[in-house]
Symmetry: C2
Subunit: 291 residues, 2 copies
Amino acid sequence: MSDLVRIGLVQMRCEVEPARNLAAALAAIEETAAAGAHIVVLPELFRSRYFCQSEDHAAFDLAEPVPGPTTEALAAVARKCGVVVVGSLFERRAPGLYHNTACVLDADGTLLGLYRTMHIPDDPLYYEKFYFTPGDLGFRSFETRFGRIGVLVCWDQWFPEAARLTALAGAQILVYPTAIGWHEAEREEFGVGQHAAWQTSQCAHAIANGVFVCAANRIGREQTVDFWGASFVCDPFGQVLERASHDRVEIVMADLDLRRIEQVRRHWPFLRDRRIDAYAGVVQRFGDGPA
Amino acid sequence: MSDLVRIGLVQMRCEVEPARNLAAALAAIEETAAAGAHIVVLPELFRSRYFCQSEDHAAFDLAEPVPGPTTEALAAVARKCGVVVVGSLFERRAPGLYHNTACVLDADGTLLGLYRTMHIPDDPLYYEKFYFTPGDLGFRSFETRFGRIGVLVCWDQWFPEAARLTALAGAQILVYPTAIGWHEAEREEFGVGQHAAWQTSQCAHAIANGVFVCAANRIGREQTVDFWGASFVCDPFGQVLERASHDRVEIVMADLDLRRIEQVRRHWPFLRDRRIDAYAGVVQRFGDGPA
């Protein structure tokens, strides 16, 4: 396994018709692979519009089994192109039991495993708690042909615990399939700050854990939300290597030297110095930490 | 208690003679209080040069008991000026037992308590593990006349667990007395990135926890280290409100509206959504997180 990995993030616009989005994603994976990528990351729930803007029982019809049609299509293209693919889908696990799930396909098409989103938001126009049961698979990493990948999704971006646990599980690259945007009513006053905080938060995960971090977001207006794109890759120093626009369909390509992880961690040996004897309070909701 | 708090960070140069540094710190506190500050934060180990650049048994002579001469002098000026003071000192707890300790003096001069630095670095020119026994008081917050303050020190800046636990202990403002700088040999290649990562990491603590964050650093060259100043205050959105230069003695003053904490947390309800059922692995050194 080489230490040099080229990663491509697919920044796409999602249309109403799922089949069209899947076709666009498959084409983007082929294009990204042809440009030399070893790993391709799709945005969160790329097969549909962001249906969580309202609570609509009919939207559960968008869910599908895993393995199922989308993972099979992604597996086929992964195998065909010899690339690792990280996908995201609305999983129907059982009648009445749904998850916001990411899947990791190895470069031979093997479904290496799933990550079911652990942190579920609920905010005006992001009614995810209505749709998604919180994940029960914990924080994981996946040994792919081109590196050990940890997958987290969207709202997880704001929780340092998620990044830490995924890094402790051995991840070299954290990838965040994402669907985040500006509310029309908030953008003027808070838009710049919201986007900055989103990027800062993820770059800090890279620094704290000495890992690469990638976020793949969608673009485009859907009802009153403008998805802000700006998909990016940062290194274990928290420095942004590549970043997309706010409003264009793009592939973000970055070359990662995985040896940089050990280099940075040797100079910033945070893993050496964690006070694991004093962190028990992290599992508390609030209140005093351990004495 | 008002929700409007003015905080002042003392960015100072530390000379060889401890008495001179203490006098400068006391004068700076008076000056900052006269400018309307309610809380004044001193840099880490401000009473001396940064002695950890070498392992020198004679340097333990700089340590002092707590309470002791420095806390008494800080208490007197706190009482005189009616300001809360966060100080930092080399604590001699018993023969052969020393800590890197912060103290919180309330505005009436009461010593509210101590924080003994939990995370101790050890790096070329930062030989702190030689001098400081890791703290045994855990992560705490202190209810002062002007707000509930959590104190962390320098190397703690890089550990999201420290910020999280201190916020869960009720802190509204995290303050980091600091002594960080560039190695002469690294500055040209890595200096900008090191400073950026330092600020990013702390702004991320503000975002993740919905708290104000302040870092008070020293300036000046001591042997081959250039302490980089850049003391700053950021809001719970992670936005830098005020920031000092890299190389001048300065007071950084910022007006904090503590109501902003609830406002930001209502819109970014991360504390609501933490998966405390799934964080047990945080107390592990490495390996898989919980299943």
